[in-house]
Symmetry: C2
Subunit: 310 residues, 2 copies
């Protein structure tokens, strides 16, 4: 089984390393030249829980350098790079190539459907985390899990055996009927914490320290819940509210500045269009007003524009 | 006619100086000890359009030091200091003391009514600007004008002669039936520029440079207009939108960071409760949803809280 990681960033290289070490046939594709050169010439340096596990010579290419056909494509990009990445690797798909997508945010199935059949889309959500310590260097901590679902559930056998094989390598995937609910629950949390921390300019603990944080949280989540339900997802707002609350303590995620905050500070474009922006877009389709998500999306975009983020 | 400036900050000291120079009986009250001491010992140093006009020994007191009765109280505080200031000078009112209030923001008449009869409230709006160059130093530029209205229009004579006398000193007051409309128009502009510039972290020109600024503007102004009309004010949204647009060029107000932005940066509490916060409060009374003003008010308050502003 030929496995391609389309995107060998923090999460992609972590999962790729786990499968590679378990003797799977893993290949990386990435657009970051320095990262590609480093891994090709010196191997991927893997540091997990502060332990240097050595360098691993996982084949890596830039999209324009690679050919052949792959059985599984694990996409691991930023949300806005999903479509360009798929465009640049679509020549590597055969008729039954499966795509695994556990990107943050909403709306990815629509994009994936432009490239493969729905029975070949495995969509999900993860709590694994990871980081890069520079080009060619994976620096990760802890463990995690993945929830995954085949969008159209026919011929599940290949997917289930794939899950088993990935779990042999430690990815800790659970095939789950509720993956869409989990995607919305995670997106809901990000629609709140990512945006407010960025606009208020604070970390998660500080957000939680404001006595009326629940009012702010609900202003967004009421819209997320209404739109998600209109989409047929059983969004449980009280679960999201509770997940958010559990992030506040400094011992959990409180000291953390969310990824959107960091993207904004570091001059990058944000994933807002796959969070509150997608809620706004879907709200219009379902005729559900989303004034708070609308204005938050616009503020984040104006901040990107004014900061000249790219 | 004994005139008291309750608040001898930037605008108060500018108008007070103009009247004092025109031989009016002017007294200042202020709570800032250093400022009071400086003016008492060295006079108010007046610099207008970069020209040093000398030092003026205008009587100045702290609230607890002053007694006697005054015919006109010109309140010139920050919005949130209006009530505490009135509390501290109310012993200086006689039965027909008039209060002039041209503070920014909404909701001040309700406060003033707790201290004087409606026929003694002169409410309005100004485009005069001013600044302090430190304690005891007035630094101002340009000229301006004031629109003023007696809240309950009985016995207008005293008000009209007062307007005439103040105009002798150059204050350029126009008695106007439309003062409430003007207050709402100015507040509407501030509900947009003050808040968005603070949350996006930009100046007025940058706000205007974002291609979808009009969508952001309207998200707030639709609520301001609906609530203002429910209050019986003929709010003309297209005028406010146009006034906002006219602030964008660097030649007008574009390079300026609004006062709320500066208060936030300088660790002070903001006037948000007299802008979007008052729109939210009135919206609830009139059963008009104001989700955007609600969430903006909460974000500004959370930023004050997290920054430990006082």
């Amino acid at each position: 089984m030929k496995i391609l990681f389309a995107g060998a960033g923090a999460l992609g290289s972590r999962f790729g390393y786990m499968l590679f070490k378990n003797n799977e046939d893993v290949t990386f594709v990435d657009t970051w030249g320095e990262h590609v050169e480093k891994i090709r010439n010196k191997g991927l340096k893997v540091i997990i829980d502060e332990v240097d596990l050595g360098n691993f010579y996982i084949p890596i290419y830039k999209p324009e350098q690679i050919s052949g056909k792959y059985d599984v494509i694990f996409v691991a990009t930023k949300s806005m790079q999903l479509r360009p990445m798929l465009e640049s690797v679509k020549h590597l798909f055969h008729e039954d190539t499966k795509i695994i997508c556990i990107l943050n945010g909403l709306g990815h199935v629509e994009t994936l459907k432009d490239y493969v059949k729905e029975e070949n889309i495995l969509i999900g959500v993860t709590v694994w985390t990871s980081g890069l310590g520079g080009p060619g260097i994976l620096e990760a901590h802890g463990t995690g899990k993945i929830e995954l679902k085949q969008v159209k559930e026919i011929n599940l056998d290949r997917t289930l055996s794939l899950v088993e094989r990935f779990n042999d390598a430690g990815l800790n995937i659970r095939y789950s009927e509720n993956a869409f609910q989990s995607i919305w629950h995670k997106a809901g949390l990000n629609c709140v914490l990512n945006t407010y921390c960025t606009l208020i300019d604070c970390n998660i603990n500080q957000y939680g320290s404001f006595e009326k944080n629940l009012e702010l949280t609900r202003a967004v989540l009421n819209e997320v819940t209404a739109v998600g339900r209109a989409e047929g997802i059983d969004v449980k707002q009280e679960i999201i509210e509770n997940n958010i609350k559990n992030c506040f303590p400094l011992e959990t995620a409180g000291a953390h500045y969310p990824s959107l905050y960091q993207d904004m500070k570091n001059g990058r474009l944000t994933e807002i269009d796959y969070l509150n922006g997608e809620v706004s877009r879907l709200g219009k389709i379902h005729n559900i007003p989303t004034p708070v998500c609308d204005v938050i999306t616009l503020m984040i975009h104006s901040k990107e524009f004014i900061n000249n983020n790219k």
